[in-house]
Assembly symmetry: C2
Homo-oligomer: 237 residues x 2
């Protein structure tokens, strides 16, 4: 299995994702939110690139059927139902609903992957399930969404955890960037908190009062689902 | 001191280099060649983005004054005087000459840095001198050229060596990507060969018969110069 890792959304190019099995990772917090919402019974997720597009897409649904979610600068968007905290995506809030969501980095990575063979949703929360879902693929791309068009260590260490798990049962051929992530991950494979103690985005979220979200998102394999993007209508289920 | 690292030329954007002190790194082999040529008495280096541009630029000089150098797919370009092997840039071959050079990745990184405050040339061969040259700067960008529009571990570990040396005497504020490189570097700070044993580009060069070049380029601080790009006429001295 060949594994490449894209370091952040702005560093992607069409040839990196074309016809590959792509796992989009945005640990803090877009893909963790999506996993939580679908695990708690959301019908589907519809990603949108901007708040305006999210609003526009939400009009396609009955008002009782749709929840508008997402963030700008980590905060809830004015007029939206929910922000980007997975803890808000409870069964009570979103069961049976379509979630139209816009986030700064995760939705960009999804949008850059539309030429893939398959687009899956990954995070620490479903790491084992991702490994199981991709273990027989030949060409895998782990797409780290990053933060503000830069590499973010939380996404990188999630990619590395997936590579580390895969490498225990499969022969993996890694690009230099995948190798770099794995080497750093293996300095502390059992201590994510320590691995991520200097992560800029993680510390920023803590400063903004989202410490509980951070703790929640760092849980290894809480969920056993691997949502997939429908490449025609772009919804995630 | 704030330190960012750009993972490869295609991942750069103008705002990452604007008004920063940029160190362009292309260990295998463009910046190692430049350092060797200038250490052996070349008058200046003129980077060119393509073989055609190199030829065009060479016409601006008397035929006895100019040497055409560079590579495509690691091999010498037909009709050029020299390839991209530092061992060919001997005093006898290039002393007093202007070198017009085109390489696949290094010249792209130089070209993407023209909005910088200052552009310096770095490699393992002048790591200590680079540290000395930038130690009082506030905003440093280590620009890894990469290989085929992807991250290359040789450039990354050179950036990490520079960061590691700086961190011993200065307070450094690292982006997540700089931190990732440093963590991997510190797993084997005294054994570059081991750190780079899986580096794709390094192994490709060995396969193509350039093992001596690789050994040469991995030498730590053989030279004590830090060439700088003249941002007006783009030559490097």
């Amino acid at each position: 299995m060949n594994i490449n890792v894209i370091p952040y959304a702005a560093a992607s190019r069409p040839e990196l994702t074309e016809n590959k099995t792509v796992v989009v990772i945005d640990v803090l917090r877009a893909t963790s939110v999506m996993l939580t919402a679908l695990s708690n019974g959301a019908r589907e997720i519809v990603p949108a690139i901007s708040p305006e597009e999210a609003l526009h897409k939400s009009f396609l649904y009955d008002v009782e059927e749709v929840v508008l979610g997402g963030e700008r600068n980590a905060m809830k968007i004015e007029g939206f139902h929910l922000g980007n905290s997975p803890l808000d995506y409870t069964e009570k809030n979103i069961s049976g609903k379509t979630i139209v969501i816009t986030t700064t980095n995760g939705t960009k990575a999804l949008n850059s992957s539309l030429n893939a063979k398959k687009v899956l949703i990954g995070a620490f929360l479903n790491a084992n399930a991702v490994v199981e879902a991709i273990k027989d693929e030949d060409e895998v791309v782990l797409f780290c969404s990053g933060t503000n068009n830069s590499f973010s260590l939380d996404d990188g260490m999630c990619a590395a955890m997936i590579i580390n798990k895969l490498s225990k049962t499969k022969e993996v051929h890694l690009t230099d960037f995948a190798r770099l992530l794995l080497t750093t991950f293996r300095t502390n494979p059992d201590n994510l908190e320590l691995l991520l103690k200097d992560c800029y985005h993680l510390n920023l979220l803590k400063q903004k009062g989202f410490e509980k979200d951070v703790t929640f998102c760092l849980q290894n394999s809480l969920y056993n689902i691997v949502p997939q993007m429908n490449l025609i209508n772009k919804s995630i289920q």
